[in-house]
Symmetry: C2
Subunit: 142 residues, 2 copies
Amino acid sequence: MRRALDAAAEAALAGEVPVGAALVWRGEIVAVAANSPRALCDPTAHAEMRVIRAAAAALGRDRLEDAELWVTLEPCAMCAGAIAHARIARLYYGASDPKGGAVEHGPLLFAQPTLHHRPEIYGGIGESEAADLLRTFFRLRR
Amino acid sequence: MRRALDAAAEAALAGEVPVGAALVWRGEIVAVAANSPRALCDPTAHAEMRVIRAAAAALGRDRLEDAELWVTLEPCAMCAGAIAHARIARLYYGASDPKGGAVEHGPLLFAQPTLHHRPEIYGGIGESEAADLLRTFFRLRR
């Protein structure tokens, strides 16, 4: 989570909503990324999507059954869906997100009976630092 | 939708679940893509994600407010989330998907009060051809 939090802080400096993620495959960090939709001109470039895509490309596989995904904010519906498609084994996240979150809020995606894969889920990890980054970012922009 | 259906047929020939999409920006088709998670080693490489990313990159913007997205199958939660993030104006889809769909099934994503953007939605367009492609693909693989 340290690496994910550092990536989130870098996102803030770049003017992007500060969210970071890291993907661990069999005990090794194989991808770290920050939320970067503006810089990349890519509305799908959330931190989770970027580490999943980078890890899948690096490992040469489209399913990451042995992966842990660490992210500083509760994933949205897009990212939660991608986590399911990628068959991520464990999801660790920091701050919860009542507005955009889809894990413990809104569509409660992993509780949907139609979902084909559900990771183990651990929330609140590094929560205060992750939430501070977001609060500071939005306060400075108002 | 013709271009999206042709892309879906190409996906089937490549051994991928046959779904295709096209993105129209101000009356012009700017991206066409097939579902390709296996070939690209990318679990997020659904047809909708690919046309959104390609169009955003081509247009140099991360929001596609004047876009229409045409796709042969009801979008899943990941793709529906991406459609909201990209601020797509209108969504046209073919076959409905009781198992993986997130528009008229499962999480009913665009009906969630927390969702920040909701396109106009038109289902059932080119439905029989889209569904035939999927049925034939899965029958041949069993």
